[in-house]
Amino acid sequence: EADIYQTPRYLVIGTGKKITLECSQTMGHDKMYWYQQDPGMELHLIHYSYGVNSTEKGDLSSESTVSRIRTEHFPLTLESARPSHTSQYLCASSISGHPSSYEQYFGPGTRLTVT
């Protein structure tokens, strides 16, 4: 079944650790996105990619980095986690084409807590 997956679902980690949040999709979508979501707030786009070897920073500044070496895989890395990184991170993807590209499909999210 075509879907979008995120691992881990929950992560509690100490300050200063390096972490990678995984996102994979089996839908063959070209475009992928990372959002940060805090309670009671809108989703903020932090990274996006329109294809392999293409990554851009989103509207919200983030200390995280991303890579897109394979179409289906879009991992997010924090080199040194801090308590301010505590949040929910949502990955999404969309197909090419207009206006289909605006229709984003979301993974279940990773809830990150940095202690």
């Binding site: 809108e42 996006y48 605006y102 984003q104 979301f106 279940p108 999210g109």
Partner: protein, 113 residues
């Protein structure tokens, strides 16, 4: 840049009653509009979308939304809510010049028996 306002942070509705969630957008041209639903601990699921054409849009789970250009609104409605509709609902707008979506802060819906 586009933006979305969801005026209601929290709505409580009785099971079987009707539901209307408000969404106002800011964008210079005709936008692409979306409603998503998020259950606790889950990602966002697309309920419905508006690209063009008929301003009354039908979605999944019995939801519908109406695009009103004069009011810059895209309100979500359901005639009779079920307990399983308790969730957080997000309105989003996409600008035609890029592929990004801007989301509102969400409305939490509580359904009482």
């Amino acid at each position: 840049a586009q933006s979305v306002t969801q005026p209601d942070i929290h709505i409580t509705v009785s099971e079987g009653a009707s539901l209307e969630l408000r969404c106002n957008y800011s964008y210079g041209a005709t936008p692409y509009l979306f409603w998503y639903v998020q259950s606790p601990g889950q990602g966002l699921q697309l309920l419905l979308k508006y690209f063009s054409g008929d301003t009354l849009v039908q979605g999944i789970k019995g939801f519908e939304a109406e695009f009103k250009r004069s009011q810059s609104s895209f309100n979500l409605r359901k005639p009779s809510v079920h307990w399983s509709d308790a969730a957080e609902y997000f309105c989003a707008v996409g600008a035609r010049e890029n592929y990004k979506l801007s989301f509102g802060a969400g409305t939490t819906v509580t359904v009482r028996a």
